[in-house]
Symmetry: C2
Subunit: 336 residues, 2 copies
DNA sequence: CGATTGCGCGAAACCGCTTTCACGAAAAGG
DNA sequence: CCTTTTCGTGAAAGCGGTTTCGCGCAATCG
């Protein structure tokens, strides 16, 4: 199909022009210490002169290392439309590239432990896999058993020792809630995300903790559950307005729900932030485009991706790795 | 590193259990017609029995086909945070996977014609490349010359015969502008995107065309330029309000600028849609979260990705391909 | 100073699949 | 019935690196 205009250089040529054996070329190109400096120099010179680039497939075949890291999004397409994941991915990609690794993107529900993706991952086609939005971890366990380096983005449900990276949801929610109190709110409600997700649960925990520290007890009436969507935020806020009289502050577990809540408040004839103050989570575009602009908990999403990639690379090097939790930060705008 | 618990099956074993030669196994597995049905059956049975999966690297080395398609985003990380590109990518990924191809993601500025990415692409590491957000096409031309199948997402600047896919920007802008007139607007302005981009120019053209069809001539005062950002939309709208008295409708070339414009209108003490009607482009999340909810031109972004992948696959098959322009559609909400 | 150790290096096997080549058998032609 | 094609097939030569193995040589030891 693709005819190569410039027939790429091979070890054979490098070996010849450098006056060494192919074995030595390989040693130099793979950073083997035990090569005489002179030869190393000769090889490097030949490499540069010939504009040599290693042939991945050949290298992979011989060494078993493909130089490919899969980024697996265990969901259908829609999830990837969330800028969050795209941003994480770009962070991953950058770090991987710097380390001579390529990012293989797989957006697909991981139905079964032996679906096509599973086979792909277990078939040694990649050197490691980074998971987003993991639903069940049966597959992961299998992969782990095969010594496939794994990193999970987001806190996994099971208490297993999977390497993972995540934002400090608890801390962010805690800070947000505290900020609402410090701004004079007395009755602070929360709109939770899907409680089955670890992030949803952690944000609720952070809220509860901050509430207790303020010396009060959060009434059940102040807690309304959503599912991360704008519409669910609007509905949850409507319920709060009805049940929790005197509510004057709301921590929404993500920006989309916060915007929904703002709509509900407006519909009820109240004003943000005068009557009710609002904080979101994620500091996404919608936080910035909302009017009034939404105070939100920012996570450094690119850094999250970078951390994931770094954890992967550490594993590839055979190092032991610890989960990494990234700090979050409150960005104060006009809704508080 | 990764010790394989189950040492994968090879052609040798399949050949033995099927009672044929490795060559025949290869033929069957690659869809060669000239194999006796009996042997084909035997091979397929053996494959299933042994749970065989082809070893990509080996296959790639021998055949020169890697099964990898690069998705190259010629920009820094930030661009990928735009849900637009992520969504396109997910569409691409889905179609590629269905065709046994994998998506290799490369997010990086394509500085030069012989940067690392360029070499990577020219080095036969991938079977094809799909480009986003292409800045200059020197590299593309080179790749094309090497017979590397290429697809560009978005309309390329040069009139070259690159296969590309795009949304009908002209048509969308045209429909949006017409809609504003039909809603009773008399003085319809436009906030353009970056005019140097083909999309920016096409949207302006569509606006002009619709204006002329309405029997009027668009005054220069009604045209303000932005750069796709919310802030630029706000500034552009402020200028329009100042210069173009009587303006009662605005087509913003994307949603972000539309939202910025709405903010400016509100700041000026006017109301949307009563005083000024607004239409955006993209139908992104912000269009849905804006209050009032923004009327916008929707493009089927996933389909755009799918079309890109299909064009790639067609080229891989050696077929001639035509550019593909996808229809856009007006989604009417509360701002018109 | 002979024996042992260790270092640097090349020969060659190998990774798993693809593809060319040539050969025997069956089909077609005379 | 014999020759010429056609068809199906296996043997074997790669594809381009990596890695094991063992050899010569110099440094170290007793």
């Amino acid at each position: 199909m693709a005819s190569k205009s410039a027939p790429r250089a091979t070890y054979a040529e490098i070996a010849k022009t450098a006056g060494v054996s192919e074995a030595t070329v390989s040693r130099v190109l793979n950073g083997d210490e035990n090569v005489h400096p002179d030869r190393t120099k000769a090889v490097n010179a030949a490499v540069k002169k010939l504009g040599y680039k290693k042939h991945r497939a050949a290298s992979a075949l011989a060494s078993g290392r493909t130089g490919l890291i899969a980024v697996v999004i265990d969901d259908d397409l829609s999830i990837f439309a969330d800028p969050f994941w795209a941003t994480v991915t770009s962070g991953i990609s950058r770090v991987l590239m710097e380390n001579e690794l390529q990012t293989l993107l797989m957006v697909t529900p991981l139905e079964s432990v032996d679906g096509p993706v599973a086979h792909y991952l277990m078939g040694g086609e990649v050197d490691g896999a980074i998971f987003f939005q993991l639903h069940k971890d049966a597959l992961i366990k299998r992969l782990r058993k095969q010594n496939l380096p794994i990193v999970i983005t987001g806190t996994p449900h099971s208490r297993s020792d999977f390497p993972f990276v995540d934002t400090d949801s608890f801390g962010g929610a805690h800070a947000a809630t505290k900020h609402l109190f410090s701004r004079g709110c007395r009755q602070v409600g929360i709109i939770t995300g899907d409680i089955d997700t670890t992030a949803g649960a952690a944000r609720l925990d952070g809220y509860n903790q901050a509430y207790r520290e303020s010396g009060h007890v959060p009434s059940k009436k102040l807690i309304a559950s959503g599912d991360w969507s704008m519409e669910s935020g609007r509905a949850a806020m409507a319920r709060l307005l009805e049940k929790a009289e005197g509510i004057d502050g709301v921590f929404a577990s993500n920006d989309l729900m916060a915007v929904g809540a703002m709509a509900a408040i407006e519909e009820a004839g109240l004003r943000v932030p005068e009557d009710i103050k609002i904080i979101g989570f994620d500091d996404s575009v919608v936080a910035q485009t909302a009017r009034p602009a939404l105070t939100s908990v920012r996570q450094d999403i690119v850094a999250l991706g970078e951390a994931a990639a770094e954890l992967m690379i550490a594993q590839l090097r055979g190092e032991e790795v610890q989960p990494r939790i990234l700090k979050s930060e409150l960005v104060i705008r006009e809704t508080t």
